[in-house]
């Protein structure tokens, strides 16, 4: 968590990395807590049952898990490697359509579909990285934006394949391991999305705490100096861009599989922008920032759009302005700062 604390000259580098990668009790509590909503109300003491609402929110929770995974994938390139992208939905949509088309024409096994979607979006991400990573700053933002728009327009034109503006129709629902069906309460969807998101979170955590992850942060903070010490910057960036694209693809595939819907909306600029808002809310450059940002954004959206369906974005905007003005490192960055201050006092 304390990424800013640098190793002293006397510290052994390996012990330092190992110490960084250690699990904090709060993390374990958080992930165990994610299983709580699966608890049926009937198992609780009577007086609590009335207030136990989570089991009817499983659909929302599974979409939160999917969006959090998408946010983590963007955080890997944006927060850790400094590659700003306004077109990350391109890979999300690629995965979504890949999973949808596979389930429509080929086979319905969700896990296999997930793997295919990851391979495809990873491969496209790898190819795109040769173009995208030539650029920096504003040009990079424009290139990613353009890439996203190109793909969205392509999917719109290829009506014969994608169903165009009506969305892809005829996606068959698969059974996980051939036995577990997706139910209307969203129980399967939540367990499935949560498990996949958790495994990929573990992978991301491992990456960011590895020497590779540290060199990415080095490139982010001072790329010339990294070159000077002999780091293959371009290959490091390509690698992480590919991983990030594959993860975004998996998130998209999860959305298709858990909802059996797939539309052009998965490719839109709006989705790319939303995930950026989420990252900025939660805190860029921390995996838990991506998760916290998603939880707050999605719950705020659900809550405010229930209160007033017309103007919920007003409150999100207000929240965003408040966060960026008073907590430049996002909510988690702000909390961390408060914690440090409290410890010193």
């Amino acid at each position: 968590m304390n990424a800013s604390a640098l190793p002293g000259p006397a510290t052994n580098l390996q012990t330092w990395i190992a110490a960084r990668a250690k699990w904090h009790p709060a993390e374990i509590v958080f992930w165990l807590g994610c299983l709580l909503p699966l608890l049926p109300a009937s198992l609780l003491p009577g007086f609590l049952q009335k207030y136990w609402i989570f089991d009817s929110y499983l659909q929302l929770l599974s979409q939160i898990a999917i969006t959090a995974l998408f946010a983590i994938s963007l955080d890997l390139i944006l927060g850790y490697a400094g590659v700003v992208s306004l077109g990350h939905a391109a890979f999300f949509g690629l995965g979504a359509y890949a999973a949808g088309l596979i389930a429509k024409f080929w086979f319905t096994d969700p896990l296999l579909g997930l793997a295919c979607a990851a391979l495809l979006s990873g491969a496209i991400g790898f190819l795109a990285s040769f173009v995208v990573l030539r650029f920096h700053g504003l040009a990079l933002i424009m290139i990613t934006l353009g890439l996203g728009q190109l793909l969205a327009e392509g999917a719109n034109s290829a009506t014969w394949l994608t169903g165009g503006a009506d969305g892809l129709q005829g996606i068959r629902a698969g059974k996980i391991f051939g036995t577990v069906e997706f139910d209307i309460f969203g129980q399967t969807a939540y367990i499935y999305a949560l498990m996949v998101a958790f495994l990929l979170f573990l992978l991301s955590r491992r990456i960011t705490n590895s020497p590779f992850g540290l060199s990415l942060q080095g490139i982010r903070d001072n790329s010339r100096r990294m070159l000077a010490i002999g780091a293959p910057n371009q290959w490091h960036l390509r690698k992480v861009f590919t991983i990030s694209a594959a993860m975004a693809g998996i998130a998209g595939a999860l959305l298709t599989q858990t909802t059996q819907t797939c539309s052009l909306e998965t490719l839109t600029f709006q989705r790319s922008a939303d995930v950026l808002v989420i990252l900025i809310l939660g805190g860029v450059g921390r995996l838990y920032g991506a998760i916290a940002g998603t939880i707050i954004y999605m719950i705020a959206r659900d809550f405010f759009s229930d209160v007033n369906p017309q103007f919920w974005y007003f409150w999100i905007g207000l929240l965003l302005i408040g966060v960026v003005s008073y907590m430049p490192n996002g909510l988690l960055g702000g909390l961390n700062w408060l914690l440090l201050k409290w410890r010193r006092a």
Partner: protein
Amino acid sequence: MRLFTTTILAASFATALALPAAAQEVRIGIILSYSGQFADTADQMDRAIKLFVKQNGETVAGKKLVFFRKDTGGIAPDVAKRLAQELVVRDKVDILAGFALTPNALAVGDVSAQAKKFMVVMNAATSIITTKSPYMARTSVTTPMLNQTLGSWAAKNGMKRVYTMVSDFGPGHDGEAAFHAGFKAGGGEIIGAARTPVANPDFAPFLQRAKDANPDGMYIWVPGGAMPAAVGKAIVERNIDKNKVKIMGQDELTGENAIKSMGEAAVGIVTVSNYDFNHQSAKNKAFVDSFFKEYGRNPDIFSIGGWDGMHLIYESLKKTGGDTDAQKLIDAAKGMAWESPRGPMSIDPETRDVVQTVYMRRVEKVGDRFLNVEFDKVENVKDPVKEQMKKEGKPMQ
């Protein structure tokens, strides 16, 4: 103290008595895109829904209607489906209604079929939507219903060679296909079919090419918003004589705001529609007046879909005596016919889709206003795509 206990007892009895009243409710979930690009569509529909409830009372067949409104924020089938599932599972709704956008309606169709809930589509206009659930009915219109009718009307009324120009995306393609089908079946010839970019197109080169092909008529499909005005302007700039080349399109080409911004340029454009606030009937006058009085605006095609959707829900509930079983409700809805502000309409007992009169209108200057004036109509129009499916023996569900 004694008084206090009594009060508590009385209160708890009252609550206990009030509880079964929950069963005396009919819960209706309305899913629309209240925010974002399509918010105005949702607002216009919701206004009609609220007005209907205000005029007809909140109680139907002895049961109180309770509404739950949910926002999809635009085209988002995943969100729409989740909201529908939540409405069914958490809010225990009996009826799903609304749906301005096709992808959202298609996605919720699955929920209606799976959870066995009566569903009323009040706008989304792609033909196949109603095949998604056996408990679904539609009170708006379908794209082919209008455009194919326009095609055959054009062929019947002396046009031989027509050039078509549509926006290059799903709804535009649907309009194009339907018009071509109707026009060709009537013996007409399509001499050119252009597709224009969806965003910020310049219509001048397309119209010039169309004019050079020397057609009898031109069919134009563009989405509402800023585009109809741009088309109108380009038609004037290219010097296309509307007396020689008939300009035809679907209602949105000459929607209220579109005509306002086109002004004189709109005069003579022929459009096909199932409803306009300028439709002349006592029933429509009453509807438009009360709508205008309440909201300071005229109702549009989205409003009429919402209005008749509520009528269908009310009448079906009355017929079942307040029973909300999806099968009973859809059976009650099948074949129901009524006089709407748009004219006579009914629900096709076979396809559960709308059957209605389709009007041909021409933009004319009436006083100091430009209005769509009806001059021809086709009665009892059914969705041509499903009629075709029926002929080919394809299943309806």
